[in-house]
Symmetry: C2
Subunit: 208 residues, 2 copies
């Protein structure tokens, strides 16, 4: 790395802070900081305060552990959602992705990560016990496991499955298959194999 000669310690501080963010290199950090320097003081305060406020005031929903402004999040407190279906996801981005499809009307359970021994994350670091308690409380009829199709995701799926199979609850997982819009020749063989094995009745797909 070239030595940077900053004309100002304040500038250097701000660049150092920005460069700590993931995927932001020092050149990008400098560009962003110089952009902020050209904005009105009030706008820079708005930017900075939005982050401090977020960090200090954010809550986690006591039911699903998604982040929320209130004790029980908008999804969990929505009377039109179906509390008997619970979709288990890794993090809040997955909740947003599934909500965007508008295909799920149940509630969520955010684990806060997946089991990953390499990163030192075990079951006790995740919201797995609270999921089991939630199922035991009796309302939940179906648990939809919606974790990544990685080794860690599969491990976590299997761990949760073992904990839940004694309880009276249906356990399902996301359908895997060829992505819509994908050409067959570019699909990987495991995905393609699964989508042949789990083939669907054609008529049932016509209404989707």
């Amino acid at each position: 790395m070239i030595t940077e000669k900053f004309p100002s310690r304040l500038l250097e501080n701000a660049v150092n802070e920005f460069a700590k963010l993931p995927g932001i290199g020092r050149k990008t950090a400098l560009r962003l900081v110089l952009h902020l320097l050209k904005q009105e003081k009030a706008d820079v305060e708005l930017f900075s305060n939005s982050l401090i406020q977020l960090r200090n005031e954010i809550k986690h929903c006591q039911v699903c552990h998604n982040i929320s402004d209130v004790d029980t999040c908008n999804i969990c407190s929505n009377p039109h959602r179906h509390p008997e279906e619970v979709c288990v996801v890794e993090n809040i981005k997955d909740v947003m992705a599934i909500e965007n499809t508008q295909q799920f009307s149940g509630l969520y359970h955010v684990l806060g990560g997946i089991i990953s021994p390499m990163d030192g994350i075990g079951p006790s670091d995740l919201e797995i016990n609270s999921l089991i308690d939630r199922v035991k409380s009796g309302t939940v009829k179906e648990v939809v496991l919606a974790l990544s199709t990685t080794m860690e995701g599969d491990t976590t799926n299997f761990f949760i499955y073992k904990k839940l199979r004694e309880l009276n609850v249906k356990i399902s997982t996301l359908a895997r298959g060829v992505s819509i819009g994908d050409e067959l020749e570019y699909a990987d063989e495991i995905t393609l194999g699964r989508s042949i094995r789990n083939r669907l009745d054609f008529e049932s797909t016509l209404s989707q």
Copy 2:
């Protein structure tokens, strides 16, 4: 764009603020904000306060108009630099780039932009009058024009040249030519043409 359903207004605010930065899309903004959310409160405050402090306390050097923590910047107040050479640049990033080469021991003059009628930037929006006053004050023997080789840069160069040519000062500009490490066949023809016309005595390049 897909509609985003944020689980929290605080989160949405912070993402909106981040997405105002140049080159930061909404997906990146969400990723950065969720990263900050996982950091300690004190670290988020450090990040935010570094920006507010920068914006509120930064000064511009009264001599060269570079940004600075003090009234006269470190370069202008350095007795080992040569005040008779002044390098005219567009912005502070250019100062840093030239400083990194360690090939210039004079002072700078930061214009704060270049003449660009399309963006509504005229000579009076830039630090051109202060440059002329600086030259008139008598210390400056050489002005090095180091602006971008764009139409706007050339316009600004020529504008400054017209203002200064009556004064007793040498006006030079950066050498243009084939970049070091470039293959000839990929050099554009204007650059290649200029580097042939302004060819150098070979022996003079041996010591560089």
